[in-house]
């Protein structure tokens, strides 16, 4: 199991503020690991360090045995890691189709010359990429398919979240980092994401999820990692973690409503 994603003593400070401090964490292939913790606990910072959006101050991130700690984001994407963002970052003026096609950037190869000259292989590639996008959008039932040619900025918040996930899936990455995938969704929509997460696990994806909805976390996670003030305070199966007194004090105890939903 080990050796898939290994985070070793990772630290990140912003001008003296330790956003993440001495966090070690291993994610095995095919696992669903949830990252929880109060606001400001360093969850997103950890995501940023893994995906190269932020550069870790200390420690190491290894993916498939390769040190990816200080690689630029596009190189980490090349390694097969995709992410969504806590605050939706879509290409707002592009259509759903175009957004997801950008997600397929690395699985296609056409460049300047072939873009202009349009040789047969370029057309074939473009055709295949679009077919693949439709295939991915089908996983979201009738939410995205009818809107495939609409600009994403006109979509609902929940649909925009779905497009972000679709944009990750299209390249069939091995590891996906979901940063609050159900934020802004109602219980019914959240259930749709839960089902999607199960489908992804069955399809062999490895997921690292930041989430605030505890029921979802308890439901889908193989393992839960709890961060507080940038440090890891607990780790284990969901049932075990919720019993942990440190966790209850840091997180669940003070935020009873979070435990309910």
């Amino acid at each position: 199991m080990s050796g898939f994603l290994e985070i070793e003593r990772l630290g990140k400070d912003y001008g003296g503020v330790k956003a993440v401090h001495d966090v070690s964490l291993t994610v095995g292939e095919g696992e669903i690991v949830s990252l929880i913790g109060p606001n400001g606990a360093g969850k997103t910072t950890l995501f940023n360090c893994i995906t190269g959006t932020a550069s870790a101050s200390e420690g190491q991130v290894r993916y498939l045995g390769q040190d990816i700690t200080h690689l630029p984001p596009h190189r980490i994407a090349e390694a097969g890691i995709r992410r969504t963002f806590q605050h939706i970052r879509l290409f707002r003026e592009m259509t759903v189709m175009e957004n997801v096609l950008v997600g397929a950037h690395l699985t296609t190869s056409s460049g300047i010359a072939s873009g202009i000259l349009r040789p047969a292989w370029q057309k074939k590639e473009e055709h295949a990429a679009r077919a693949r996008v439709l295939e991915v959008l089908e996983q979201f039932e009738e939410r995205l398919l009818p809107r495939v040619d609409q600009k994403v900025k006109v979509l609902s918040y929940a649909n925009q979240r779905r497009v972000e996930i679709a944009r990750c899936l299209v390249s069939t990455p091995r590891l996906i980092l979901l940063d609050e995938p159900t934020a802004g969704m109602n219980p019914h929509e959240t259930q749709g994401i839960v089902e999607l997460i199960f489908r992804l696990r069955d399809a062999g994806y490895t997921l690292l999820v930041v989430e605030h909805k505890m029921r979802l976390v308890m439901n889908v996670s193989d393992r839960v990692v709890v961060l507080d003030h940038g440090e890891k305070i607990a780790e284990g199966p969901p049932a075990e973690v919720t019993e942990n007194p440190a966790v209850i004090e840091a997180y669940l105890g003070q935020r009873e409503n979070a435990a309910i939903e």
Partner: protein, 337 residues
């Protein structure tokens, strides 16, 4: 209905427009108007070139006349002094400008927004000062005289009408290549960078590389426009490549709208034609020019065809798939089937 008939019908406005442009010089015997249309053509190339940066990848470049000047001087020097054939000099104008684009882009494209804008402005200033002061090479303020008329594969482009057709061919080629480029994987990466650089990088787009490539392509086209200009007026001096020229290009994009293919064409046509139309009231010319800009900015701040929502891909040049879902039926790809 056969595909070819469908395509023709769908493209009929553009085909008619192109046909009108071909017939125009014969219907309008006025050489002066043909000359203005040549200038409009040159500015369409320049505006399309700048549009790739300002409109598609979202880099604010405000010193584009620098590349324009480099292209013009390259082609002039190579034909006048080195005696190179026009076709070769024309191509070199683009390549040399492109090389300068690379040299400027490599170090400066890590800058964002206003800082990059200032770097490009500085570049324009430097080019202009070098052209003005390097007397032995550029002829200084006197410029370069006696630039030959082009001869293209044996076709001597002598008259204004002939030159008009030459420019028309160049413009069509430029718009054709641009339209295809922006509606491909490459173009999508550019727009993605404009929309959200961080997200684009997270999807595997090498942001710096794409910025440099877009910069080089844009400079290449500006260089081509420079050569078109030099061989038409046949005398060039540094004054034609000042920052004012760069600002006219920005005004064209502001007026016509950027981020699509039609805006720069419409903007160039209007902004170049206006001063000529108002020549009769010469003293109020610039006043009216300014007034038109102010009104447009008030009424349509995104430009006539502006806003990035106006996605005109020019179907005639680009028959790639566009709509993928219609009602309940999937059309995975129309053109390729």
């Amino acid at each position: 209905m056969p595909q070819i008939v469908k395509d023709t019908l769908e493209n009929s406005p553009m085909i008619l427009f192109l046909a009108a442009l071909v017939i125009a010089p014969f219907v309008i015997p006025n050489q002066y108007i043909v000359q203005i249309m040549v200038f409009i053509g040159i500015y369409v190339i320049l505006a399309q070139s700048l549009n790739l940066l300002n409109g598609y990848i979202g880099l604010i470049a405000i010193g584009h006349a620098g590349f324009y000047g480099i292209g013009a001087y390259t082609s002039a020097k190579l034909t006048v002094d080195a005696g190179l054939p026009f076709e070769l000099a024309f191509l070199c104008a683009g390549l040399v400008a492109g090389a300068f684009g690379w040299a400027l882009g490599r170090p400066t494209l890590r800058l964002e927004g206003i800082y990059l804008a200032l770097a490009t402005l500085g570049f324009n200033l430097i080019v202009w000062l070098v052209l003005l002061n390097w007397n032995s090479f550029t002829g200084g303020p006197l410029g370069i005289k006696g630039i030959p008329r082009p001869t293209i594969l044996g076709w001597e482009v002598d008259t204004r009408t002939e030159y008009y057709f030459f420019i028309l061919a160049v413009v069509v080629t430029v718009v054709f290549t641009m339209a295809r480029l922006v509606n491909s994987r490459f173009g999508r990466a550019l727009v993605a960078i404009r929309e959200d650089q961080l997200a684009a990088a997270a999807m595997g787009v090498d942001v710096t590389r794409y910025k440099v490539q877009a910069f080089v392509i844009s400079a290449f086209y500006a260089g081509i426009a420079g050569a078109c200009y030099a061989h038409f007026v046949r005398y060039i001096s540094p004054d034609s490549f000042t920052m004012l020229e760069s600002f006219i290009l920005l005004a064209i994009l502001a007026l016509g709208g950027s981020g699509n293919m039609i805006g720069p064409i419409v903007g160039a046509a209007i902004l170049i034609a206006i001063p000529e139309l108002f020549r009769a009231v010469a003293e109020y010319r610039m006043l009216l020019y300014g007034l038109v800009l102010i009104i447009i900015m008030q009424v349509r701040p995104q430009g006539l065809f502006g806003g990035h929502h106006y996605n005109l891909h020019l179907r005639l040049f680009d028959r790639g798939p566009r709509r993928t879902y219609r009602g309940d039926a999937f059309l995975p790809s129309e053109a390729e089937q």
